[in-house]
């Protein structure tokens, strides 16, 4: 894991990237655009890289990346077998060793049916560095258990508030067992490899000892497949977005599975608009709302059955926090 950023680059470029890769812990994103300065997002702050490979805040010193260099990097990332990543390229991102995600953009090639066939002339890469935050769900755990029983939980937040990080740690703790409940078999339908960060089918993130991951498969199909094949006690999905996925979750719940899910949105109103007012609320016992008002990864409130008022907030990841102090659940 330590050098997983450096390993993304071919041998002849590693010297240049050594200094930046050394900051892997803090780096959030590396943005590479052809003939534009290399930009690094490091814990919310942005800087450039000079020709020596050192960080700089002066745009005049910033080094740009050429088209050939970007293609060379992409070929290396794809192990010189771009065809093997055809499906991922079509979706616009690749997951690599270490669980990092490489977003790509260029010219889309459309099929006759109007779908994206592939992306050619890739000129933009966004290396999103994976960060596992073990303990992120500590504060939430007491709220999602009722007398040892895990409750169906939906995490709602705008992008970048840490909902996937929270879900990942929740999955890990539910799977391993925690002070509030026994370890349970978890099936993760990981369509975009965001939860487990699977590379070659093997999770790169710790998702627990009782977790089975079905990677790169549409969520609706993945949930049904997991139900049939792995008999999970809990089903976890990231980014619930389509009514069909909600129906699949409902079927899973009807089979006795517990549900852990996340969805994009600023609040329950956004989900009301997407799924119809209250159509999802009967499924979930707890709805967790996150926001960035007190910094990334803050729990704004936890709603019971989706109905309630704002109460209880706190930093999602707090190293000083101890078990036993859950977030009050709104009625």
């Amino acid at each position: 894991m330590e050098n997983s950023i450096l390993q993304l680059f071919p041998a002849q470029r590693r010297r240049f990237w050594t200094e930046i890769a050394g900051r892997q812990k803090d780096i959030r994103e590396i943005r590479l655009r052809v003939n534009r300065p290399i930009m690094i997002n490091c814990t919310g702050k942005e800087f450039y890289v000079n020709s020596e490979g050192n960080p700089t805040h002066n745009p005049d010193e910033a080094r740009s990346i050429g088209g050939g260099e970007l293609e060379e990097l992409l070929e290396h990332i794809c192990h010189y077998s771009l065809y093997a990543y055809e499906e991922e390229l079509r979706q616009g991102f690749l997951t690599v060793a270490g669980g990092h995600r490489i977003g790509v953009a260029g010219q889309a090639v459309m099929s006759e049916g109007g779908d994206i066939r592939t992306i050619r002339n890739i000129r933009f890469l966004n290396i999103r560095v994976a960060h596992e935050v073990k303990g992120a769900a500590d504060r939430l755990l007491p709220s999602v258990y009722d007398d040892g029983d895990l409750l169906n939980t939906l995490i709602i937040s705008p992008p970048g508030c840490g909902k996937t990080t929270l879900l990942r740690d929740l999955v890990r703790q539910v799977s391993n067992g925690n002070p509030y409940g026994r370890g349970m078999t978890v099936g993760v339908a990981d369509e975009r490899s965001e939860i487990a960060g699977a590379y070659g089918g093997e999770p790169q993130n710790d998702v627990g000892i009782r977790t089975d991951v079905l990677d790169n498969c549409p969520k609706e199909k993945a949930m049904m497949l997991l139900l049939r094949s792995m008999s999970p006690e809990v089903i976890a999905i990231d980014e619930l977005g389509k009514p069909g996925e909600l129906e699949a979750l409902r079927s899973a719940a009807a089979c006795g599975c517990r549900i852990l899910a996340t969805a994009h949105g600023n609040g329950v109103e956004d989900l009301d608009t997407r799924f119809g007012r209250g159509s999802y609320k009967s499924l979930f016992h707890r709805i967790v709302l996150l926001d960035k008002k007190k910094g990334a990864g803050c729990i704004r409130e936890v709603l019971r059955g989706g109905v309630g008022s704002a109460q209880g907030s706190g930093k999602l990841y707090d190293p000083d926090w101890k078990f036993g102090n859950g977030i009050p659940v709104s009625k």
């Binding site: 390993q7 680059f9 071919p10 041998a11 002849q12 470029r13 590693r14 293609e71 070929e75 290396h76 794809c78 192990h79 010189y80 077998s81 771009l82 065809y83 093997a84 055809e86 499906e87 390229l89 060793a97 592939t118 992306i119 050619r120």
Partner: protein
């Protein structure tokens, strides 16, 4: 002694002719296996090498396993240089001509194909070329082999007569 030596030369050439055909057929088999892995497994070329090494024997098995292992180590070297580094010495030990080896290595020239059908086409092209070559050689091979042994034998007799 002279007769045995010249006969030996004849047999050596006969084996070389037959050996080249066998080696070309082996390269063809490797390409067929690679095609299968690309078509049905959508594996990377390095993973394909690892998988097909299991189904091979001798030096080729270890060479392909080494390619997969070196790619797994991710030292930053590109596939072509690793593949050539590991596989070329094995191919050089076979009765193949340089053009046969280059034909085999041709599929690596465009590993940047974003389309699997294009990558497969490259593999097929190399395979077809090798098949054609092997077919041409096999067609006249019996005559060539007989001629090599006969020439060896007659050459030996000629030398004996001259020395007599």
């Amino acid at each position: 002694m002279i007769l045995i030596g010249s006969l030996g030369m004849g047999f050596r050439y006969r084996n070389e002719f037959t050996g080249r055909i066998q080696a070309l057929r082996m390269l063809r088999t490797i390409l067929v296996l690679l095609e299968g892995e690309v078509r049905y497994g959508r594996d990377t070329l390095a993973e394909c090498c690892g998988h097909i090494s299991v189904r091979m024997k001798g030096d080729c098995k270890s060479a392909f396993a080494l390619v997969a292992e070196r790619m797994r180590q991710n030292s930053g070297e590109n596939f072509e240089s690793i593949f050539r580094d590991c596989v070329e010495p094995v191919l050089k030990s076979m009765p193949l001509k340089p053009e046969d080896r280059e034909e085999f290595f041709r599929f690596m020239g465009s590993y940047g194909c974003a389309d699997s059908s294009l990558q497969l086409r490259l593999l097929e092209q190399s395979r077809e070329q090798l098949e054609t070559k092997a077919g041409e050689l096999a067609a006249g091979n019996n005559e060539r082999c007989r001629m090599a042994v006969s020439l060896g034998c007659m050459g030996g007799l000629l030398i004996i007569l001259v020395l007599w």
